[in-house]
């Protein structure tokens, strides 16, 4: 595989094409716009790809729902206030088990906020619908992972039929570097929702009897838990002898790794636990670790959305100290992480 000099946006776009996506429906919003423009560029010369710049994110999301019901892989990319509007379609995808793929380029919030970076759309990505948050959410930390995780998002969506999200940010998407794109898993084919021949299907998302919805949700939960056993993923870095374990996701996870290398040189036994799937969350791996280390330090560009996920998954019988560095909507440098851990370990 040869190295190419690419930006994060180009990598995600290429991953969508390689995953077999045929349609993109999107509405421009920083910092996700270039996925739409790159896709449209690609569609100029590839007759298999179609695209539509819709009137808003709502239409983009529902057009994706329509296209996947017809059996084709389709996706959208959005950010911030667009992620809020996208919840309407994502909720329908939740209810009807549609393999809708959404690339979320997190930006600062609330409201129009800032336009490049944050880790504040974790809750929206997982729990933004009016239901139970049974979605698949991957959080890549490097440009290589932008590629592999986008491929995984499509495969998971089509294999398990839950709406699936690549949760990233403008920093990572705007990073340009030499990268090798490789992924050795075959594309999932998945089922077509609406069959033409002799299959008069009637598909609903509204129930007249409470028990019907209750039973449907039980089925979904069963499927979700079964799927979780197969796809839940996390990275553990230098944790074998660690007293302190940093918990971070996405691009902050990459900064934490660099910080750990520096801290290790000065003799501090610190490691990293990085959830790769924020949903389903790597609960077992987290609790195994919680049982044997002294302290968790949660570091994220949010006021505690990752912390809350961790706390909700922690086995309550395990007493572990939790410290944190919470910097909503601003980047976190390697130096800041080193300083924070130095302070804690004194």
């Amino acid at each position: 595989m040869k190295k190419q000099f690419l930006t994060g946006h180009q990598i995600v776009t290429q991953a969508c094409i390689d995953a077999g996506a045929k349609h993109m429906f999107g509405y421009p919003i920083t910092p996700g716009t270039e996925i739409l423009t790159n896709w449209i560029d690609a569609a100029q010369t590839n007759p298999e790809l179609t695209q539509l710049q819709t009137e808003d994110e709502i239409a983009a999301g529902f057009a994706v729902c329509g296209a996947v019901m017809a059996g084709n892989k389709a996706f959208t990319a959005t950010a911030g206030p667009g992620t809020v509007l996208m919840q309407d379609a994502m909720s329908m995808a939740d209810g009807m088990r549609l393999p809708v793929v959404v690339i979320i380029a997190q930006r600062g919030g609330p409201s129009s906020g800032t336009v490049i970076y944050s880790q504040q759309e974790v809750n929206l990505a997982i729990h933004g619908g009016n239901g139970e948050g049974m979605r698949i959410v991957y959080s890549p930390s490097t440009v290589e992972e932008l590629y592999t995780h986008t491929r995984k998002v499509f495969n998971a969506a089509w294999k398990y039929r839950f709406p699936s999200v690549l949760l990233t940010d403008g920093f990572l998407l705007k990073t340009t570097q030499d990268v090798e794109l490789s992924f050795d898993t075959k594309n999932e084919k998945g089922d077509i929702t609406i069959f033409e021949q002799n299959k008069k299907q009637h598909i609903r998302n509204i129930y007249t009897v409470e028990e019907e919805l209750y039973e449907e949700l039980q089925r979904q939960k069963k499927d979700f838990d079964k799927m979780a056993l197969e796809i839940t993923e996390s990275e553990e870095y230098k944790i074998e002898d660690a007293d302190i374990v940093i918990i971070s996701h996405g691009i902050v996870g990459a900064a934490a790794k660099a910080a750990i290398d520096i801290l290790r040189e000065s003799g501090i036994s610190v490691g990293l636990f990085r959830p790769i799937t924020l949903s389903p969350f790597p609960t077992d791996a987290l609790n195994t670790l919680a049982g044997r280390v002294k302290k968790f330090v949660i570091i994220e560009s949010s006021m505690g959305q990752l912390r809350d996920l961790v706390k909700q998954e922690l086995d309550t019988s395990i007493a572990i100290k939790i410290d944190g560095l919470y910097k909503p909507a601003v980047g976190i440098s390697v130096e800041e992480i080193v300083e924070k851990i130095n302070l804690i370990s004194k």
Binding site: F25, D56, I58, F62, A67, A74, H202, R204
Partner: protein
């Protein structure tokens, strides 16, 4: 397959849906047809006809069918909505589908009220009409969807008809499907009975729809 209607007795929608289905059957395109439903009373059609049918969200059926048609260009993509779904909460998507000349057929059931939620003011509620959200009578200009959309798209097939004239209804729907087959947007608004919310019965229903025609003239636009 026997259709079991869950619509109120006297509702106009089963008649519209049956006429529509009759055309699909006649043209032998039942298998290529996909009926997307908005939310509101239109959702009740989810298992009414022996063709592929799915519900969407309120105001979102047009955008969904635009996506469906992109993925299956040889399908007959039908977006079925009420007046609220089409001209209020889903208006933006409807107008843009028309502007872009998306090859989908939109059928709008105009009964001048939000029926499923119990008769609130709709975009097509007429001046002076009393509803549960306009108890003194509506003073809001009703939306004339077809007339408005005509100005946005010169190639689309756009009509308003009434369920009280099945022959006319059939003719307009046939032409709308032809327009879709030729790659154009089409919209047929159908004036339709709502005995439950109008609180009228029998022959008065027909008289009500005739009065509606003063605000909503029939024809092609």
């Amino acid at each position: 397959m026997t259709a079991i209607s869950t619509f109120c007795p006297g509702c106009g929608q089963p008649a519209i849906l049956r006429v529509m289905h009759g055309i699909l059957k006649e043209k032998k395109v039942e298998e290529k047809a996909v009926l997307g439903l908005d939310i509101g009373c239109s959702l009740l059609a989810w298992d009414y006809l022996p063709i592929n049918t799915f519900q969407t969200h309120h105001g979102r059926v047009v955008a969904t069918m635009v996506g469906y048609k992109k993925a299956k260009p040889d399908s007959v993509s039908i977006a079925y909505a009420g007046d609220g779904g089409a001209y209020a909460i889903g208006f933006q998507s409807l107008l843009w589908a028309a502007i872009r000349d998306e090859p989908v057929t939109v059928i709008v059931n105009n009964n001048a009220v939000y029926a499923m939620t119990g008769g609130q003011t709709a975009p097509t509620t007429m001046i002076g009409q009393k509803t549960s959200t306009s108890p003194a009578g509506s003073d809001q200009m009703p939306v004339n969807g077809p007339e408005l959309i005509r100005n946005l798209n010169k190639d689309a097939y756009i009509a308003r008809t009434t369920m009280t004239d099945m022959k006319e209804l059939k003719g307009h729907l046939e032409k709308a499907f032809e327009a879709q087959a030729q790659g154009h947007f089409s919209l047929v608004e159908v004036l339709s009975f709502c005995p439950t919310n109008w609180k009228v019965m029998g022959a008065e229903l027909r008289a009500y729809v005739e009065r509606m025609q003063e605000t909503f003239p029939l024809g092609t636009f």
